[in-house]
Symmetry: C2
Subunit: 241 residues, 2 copies
């Protein structure tokens, strides 16, 4: 594998670890991964380097090595987040997780900058409420979101969310019975130190970043959110059938 060279700022063992993870996800291996010596030969590296890769995956909870027996694949749960006009994370997940909750990490009032004001159809500098929230399923952090709401219309949103643990229910409490998702834009990037802390990720992990806009039934924006999903625990599903 000539492509594996250390010139790009990514350690060989990390590239090999990612390759192994990929092979596991694609079903190429089942039960155990091949022996270290075989992998070393296949990747064209020293056995020590393969060991470093396996060690990293073990730390991340993907593999478990047993002396004399082999290295076993630990199945990890992955959650599907539906994205549609009627997206309700809490409802979509309730079938997959036994315990599902949202926590309020922080709240603040600030002034909308030009880009945010445009998205929420407000005047630049208009007051908005920012919520930092965390979603968990069965005790595992899945996503953290930063949401902005027009401050005039949703003054008590922070308290409402804190007590309800759900945007849908917080909206309902403030008199907004229904809302729809107008648009979602998905990208991906490396997890920031903040992401790692909040989501319990190892440094260098990947997050799916979704920017979304919700409106009321008259098309008036009620929430703009940037949500960061732990990419190895979550799939985003768009049903367009």
């Amino acid at each position: 594998m000539a492509a594996l060279e250390r010139v790009n700022g990514v350690a060989l063992w990390r590239q090999i670890a990612d390759s192994i993870r990929q092979s596991i996800a694609s079903g190429e291996y089942s039960g155990t991964i091949p022996p270290e010596t075989l992998l070393a030969e296949r990747f064209g590296v020293n056995r020590h380097t393969v060991r470093a890769a396996v060690s990293a995956l073990s730390r991340e909870g993907v593999l478990r090595s047993e002396r004399g027996r082999g290295t076993f694949i630990i199945r990890q749960d992955s959650y599907v987040f539906p994205i549609s006009r009627r997206t309700r994370f809490s409802e979509g997940l309730s079938e997959q997780a036994r315990v599902f909750d949202g926590a309020l990490l922080g709240a603040d009032q600030e002034m909308a900058d030009a880009a945010l004001a445009r998205r929420l159809s407000l005047e630049a500098g208009a007051p908005v409420i920012r919520l930092e929230t965390l979603r968990r399923a069965d005790g595992i952090a899945l996503s953290r979101a930063t949401s902005w709401f027009p401050a005039g219309r949703f003054a008590g949103i922070a308290d409402a969310y804190r007590e309800e643990g759900s945007i849908t229910r917080a909206f309902r409490r403030l008199g907004l019975a229904d809302y729809v998702r107008r648009e979602t834009e998905v990208t991906a990037s490396h997890a920031s130190p903040d992401d790692c802390l909040a989501l319990g990720l190892s440094a260098g992990a990947i997050v799916l970043v979704a920017q979304s806009l919700n409106t009321d039934l008259d098309g008036v924006p009620v929430q703009y959110a940037v949500t960061r999903f732990a990419a190895d625990r979550v799939r985003l599903a768009m049903d367009t059938g």
Copy 2:
């Protein structure tokens, strides 16, 4: 901060380079990027580390530094891929790129394994045609896709695609006038060596992985595809308004 690399396997400067590239793509910067000292402070690293990141991006043709003046953005390539029931990549992109084309990297006939057969509503072991394709905009590789088609119905799909450069037109040529996207599932992972080669990415880059199913108007599956997008050049947009 030096400890980051130990846990991670991805060099700090590489993570910062990716982050800068992401910010450029998302339109956060325009014209120039912030000064090195400011970026260093913002990322919490030494100025040299930022310089290593900028240096890498300069080698890749994204940035150009001028002493005393600043660091200028050369390529600000960000393409939005719409995902909807009527997704037509070629149509959605034609407004954003001057030159847009699809190339056939390879084609093969194989037998559907259990998972693929289920997705295409075929018997396990049924013959399918696999296409490896690459999409470019203005000469820049945006995505590579592996697609499977029922071999019985779309025998000449490889030749048709090779000559048309588009799935939509290849389908039309084989008598399928129209089709719809039924579902799409999005995840993200590190770029494999193959991805790096095909998409011109640096090791450690991120790809958005979309698994999608297309059906004809009667709901019969016609194509299952796994598409790998260069995450720093592409945003996936779901319009649910």
